[in-house]
């Protein structure tokens, strides 16, 4: 007796939709895995032609699949996990005036370090206490060792305030430098996070070599002031690079498409306003431009005229004198950098010039969803290095209320700074940290006395970043490694294999037991379990969680615990059946009566999951998350999906015994 579809479609939907949704979310994970396996196969074969072809056909697909795929934790994919902490003792030591440091001060530092090692008290407090005990009786005060860094009156309070500020910003400074390095060395999917106020946590997938990691972490970043040379000379060099690349390609490709190119060039020369590509379909137009301007088409060049930015092109070589501005989208950056790093191309750029990228993408464009960087042509030789900077501080201009950064230099720096600024009025000087330009302010006037004010920041955050960068000159943020974990690639693979195997065996055992004990109704749990596991993975993937080895353990454990809810219901239904109820009534009653025990037992486990999440670290949090997702899924799959399944079986007239012996009517003798 088949029921009308209109009566059961809702229950069918409950069976099919969650599973379908889970599979849909997990599709990119499967696709990424499949494509990666294929790429690895080609890599092993060493077939570069096939590899290039693969990259062309599937490169984009692989990247987008990976973006949406379930992320594996470092313990499964191999890599390095590092926790850094600001070494406050070292910071206090290095912040002291070098000439002033004496035996007494060294003693104070030593004692502070000894005490700080086994105490949770703020290091500055320990330092002050030790200082009071050791140094003060010998007639020293903080003023003996520290300077406030600017021309204000020196007092103990000021020194303390400055030290406190430096300790606070040290972690941001280290984080900024490390972030830039990680970006630069291209550690894919690296994760950098601040933990609390003094620690940075770093996850570096694929990095298993300590030397590699240390390269990223050595925080002696160089702060330099360099003159900006965004001028016609630079633009002419870019033009030359275009011509050179074209010529070179012409050499290698004989003379295939160059006919049209020449034609286009002549047209362009004939009338400089007409677009030679007019009338072409957009795609073709782009292709032609890429072909004709292999280098300069990668970025946008503006001519700065009365503070207005006029885009120019490279169809003609007579570039007006003056200032230029360059912007480059993230997409073409790799090619841009690849071309610029070629030695034959570098020869075309004036020897005393170099190209440096801005540290952050343009904020306004970023809000519109575009990642566009500025780049600068700089004079290679720095005018001044950052060690002359004694202090920097982000604040607001008292009159205009705009965010500004104040920068102080020592006497030697101030003298040279006056000379440099005096010679470059109305020109730009770039503030460069570790090779990236953080700001390129225009010199308004000759700056004497060592105190400069930098304006033009769009937000106090931007000002704060600049403060951190400028401080890198005065103060190396000393950090120490407090935790370091490396998982080699082979252990990760082994863990995945073993985890999967344990999962399969566990699944098999549970299924055997449930079907053996509860027969047909037990089979329902197989389906519910399947949906459960798929949904755990899907939710983890959708919320950008990471799957760790303890996470896999959490999933395996969930399988064991999820069927508990089924058991509670089934046992209750058995009881009701024994009491002589009909199967229909028993199913309803069983679900209703088992609910409170199911909820209570799952909530208690959920509570411990929460505690574990907040007090655990790294992989253990992964366990807590899968455990908690597993519990929510269990409630859903058992109370809703499995229920729908059973209702459907009943609706289609199947009999369910719940593993009880059939009742028989036997004649009484």
């Amino acid at each position: 007796m088949a029921p009308k579809f209109s009566q059961v479609w809702g229950k069918w939907a409950l069976l099919v939709l969650p599973l379908a949704l889970g599979i849909y979310i997990l599709w990119p994970t499967y696709r990424a895995w499949q494509l990666e396996a294929e790429r690895d196969r080609l890599l092993r074969l060493g077939d570069s032609v096939a590899l290039a072809e693969f990259e062309q056909h599937y490169g984009e697909a692989l990247r987008s699949a990976k973006q949406n795929a379930l992320k594996l934790g470092l313990d499964l994919r191999g890599g390095m996990y590092v926790t850094l902490e600001v070494d406050v003792v070292k910071l206090l030591e290095e912040a002291a005036e070098r000439e002033a440091v004496d035996e007494v001060f060294r003693q104070v530092i030593e004692e502070t370090r000894r005490q700080a090692e086994r105490s949770d008290e703020p290091v500055l407090d320990i330092f002050l206490r030790v200082f009071d005990r050791i140094a003060r009786p010998q007639g020293r005060s903080l003023i003996s060792y520290y300077d406030v860094g600017d021309l204000r009156e020196v007092s103990e309070e000021r020194i303390l305030e400055r030290l406190r500020r430096n300790i606070e910003s040290a972690i941001d400074q280290a984080q900024e430098v490390i972030r830039q390095r990680v970006d630069r060395y291209g550690v894919a999917e690296a994760n950098i996070q601040k933990q609390g106020t003094r620690r940075i946590m770093l996850e570096l997938p694929g990095v298993t070599n300590e030397a590699e990691m240390r390269q990223l972490l050595q925080t002696t970043a160089r702060l330099e002031f360099k003159l900006v040379r965004n001028n016609e000379e630079a633009v002419r060099a870019f033009y030359a690079i275009d011509q050179y690349l074209k010529r070179q390609r012409g050499d290698t490709l004989a003379a295939t498409p160059s006919d049209t190119t020449v034609a286009a060039d002549t047209v362009a020369q004939a009338s400089d306003t007409a677009d030679p590509y007019a009338g072409l379909p957009e795609e073709e137009r782009q292709r032609r431009i890429r072909q004709d301007f292999p280098f300069t088409s990668l970025f946008i060049t503006y001519y700065v005229q009365n503070e207005r930015f006029v885009p120019i092109d490279y169809r003609r070589s007579d570039f007006p004198e003056g200032e230029y501005f360059f912007q480059i989208p993230k997409a073409t950056l790799p090619e841009f950098e690849a071309i610029l790093s070629r030695p034959d191309v570098q020869r075309l750029l004036p020897a005393e010039y170099e190209v440096a990228l801005s540290a952050k993408p343009d904020e306004r464009l970023q809000r519109q969803g575009m990642e566009v960087y500025a780049f600068y042509v700089l004079k290679r030789e720095p005018e001044l290095t950052g060690d002359v900077v004694t202090d920097a501080r982000a604040t607001f201009d008292p009159t205009t209320n705009a965010p500004i950064v104040l920068m102080d230099m020592n006497a030697e720096g101030a003298e040279r700074w006056a000379r440099i600024t005096g010679a470059n009025i109305k020109k730009k000087i770039a503030i460069v940290l570790d090779g990236r330009v953080y700001s390129a302010p225009v010199v308004q006037s000759k700056i004497t006395g060592g105190r400069s004010q930098i304006t033009g920041m769009s937000s106090i955050q931007e000002a704060h970043l600049l403060e951190i960068v400028l401080k890198a000159g005065a103060l190396k943020a000393p950090v120490k490694l407090v935790e370091e974990r490396v998982v080699g690639p082979s252990l990760g693979e082994d863990s995945i294999r073993r985890g999967l195997l344990a999962g399969l065996i566990g699944f098999g055992l549970v299924v055997l037991f449930m079907v053996g004990y509860y027969t047909g109704a037990g089979a329902v749990t197989i389906f519910a379990l399947l949906v459960n596991v798929v949904l755990i993975l899907a939710l983890l993937s959708a919320f950008k969680g990471t799957l760790t080895l303890p996470g896999i353990a959490g999933i395996v454990l969930t399988m064991g615990m999820a069927v508990d809810a089924n058991i509670l219901i089934f046992e209750r239904i058995r009881e009701e059946l024994r009491r002589g109820r009909s199967i229909r009534a028993a199913v309803d009653e069983g679900h209703k009566r088992a609910l409170s025990a199911i909820l209570d037992s799952n909530i208690t486990t959920f509570i411990t999951g929460l505690i574990l999440y907040f007090l655990g670290t790294g992989p253990i949090q992964g366990f807590a998350i899968t455990l908690m997702i597993g519990i929510l899924n269990t409630l859903f799959t058992v109370l809703i999906v499995a229920r729908a399944f059973i209702e459907l079986m009943l609706a289609y007239g199947m009999t369910l015994s719940y593993g009880l012996p059939r009742q028989r009517l036997v004649p009484v003798a």
Binding site: R118, E210, I505, F513, D564, I611
Partner: protein, 321 residues
Amino acid sequence: MEFFRQTNIDFLGKRRTIIWISVAITAVGMLLVALYGLEYGIDFVGGTEVAVQIRPEPDIAQIRSVMDKAGFSGAEIKSYGRAEQFLIRVREREEGGTAATAVLETLRKGFPERSVELLKSDRVGPKIGAEMRRNAFLAVILAVVAILLYIAFRFEFLYGVGATIALVHDVLIAISAIAIVHHFGILRIEINQSVLAALLTVVGFSINDTVIIFDRIRENRERYKGMNLIKLMNLSINETLSRTINTVLTTVLVLLALLLVGGEVLQGFAFTMLVGIITGTYSSIYLASAFVVEFVQRFQRVDLDAEYRKLREAERAAAQA
């Protein structure tokens, strides 16, 4: 299939004896923990640990001599999982030193003709270790208190206390079991983050059986108003016996799978949970309700036992008649 069919076991009859036996077992367990000591993993004490795979495999004495020559005297060397895999734990040579790389270099130099591969390395500073230890302790306490409050809120305060005593019992037994198997070299289990996770999960999970029973007690109390508490509890435990056992059984099955094939890293986790939830079932059946009965007798000054004895006698008499 049915394992238990309408049992009528007097679980609470010998509860004093059972409580004392349990207390004795727990005390002996704690004594053994004190005697044998627990080995803390580097998560909780700090230090450097390097797991390597050396092919073809040397024996541990060979590795030790290589390490000693390089100045890593006192390094602990153990086998790790497979025959060719080793775990080496060294003391910090210097603050911020590159111990893992140094160990690897030493081994590569010491065994130039073999392949030495890094499986994993962990270095934890002593301060972080202390912090994690404190957090771990805090987490277990917090979990127990949270469960106490939840059960007290859902049932009654006395029930919460009974459940909590059962939980603490489970955790202590699990810890003793770790100390014992570790001491006798059956399994190499250290107290580390994943064992902590297992202990917490035990707290959250072994309460489940208690909840099933308490839930039934609450339901039966409504149905059989005025029934003697011991009789009521015995009835409830018997009625729920098959689900109490079955729910644990399925979890035991998956934990066995994890323990046997899940690999070295998950071994401690699986073992701890296995012991914890099995004792959890025992304590749910025999201890949690037993404590509630004891509390009720003490604080409400009711002689439930005498009442229950009379009831049993009456039943027996009725059966004979």
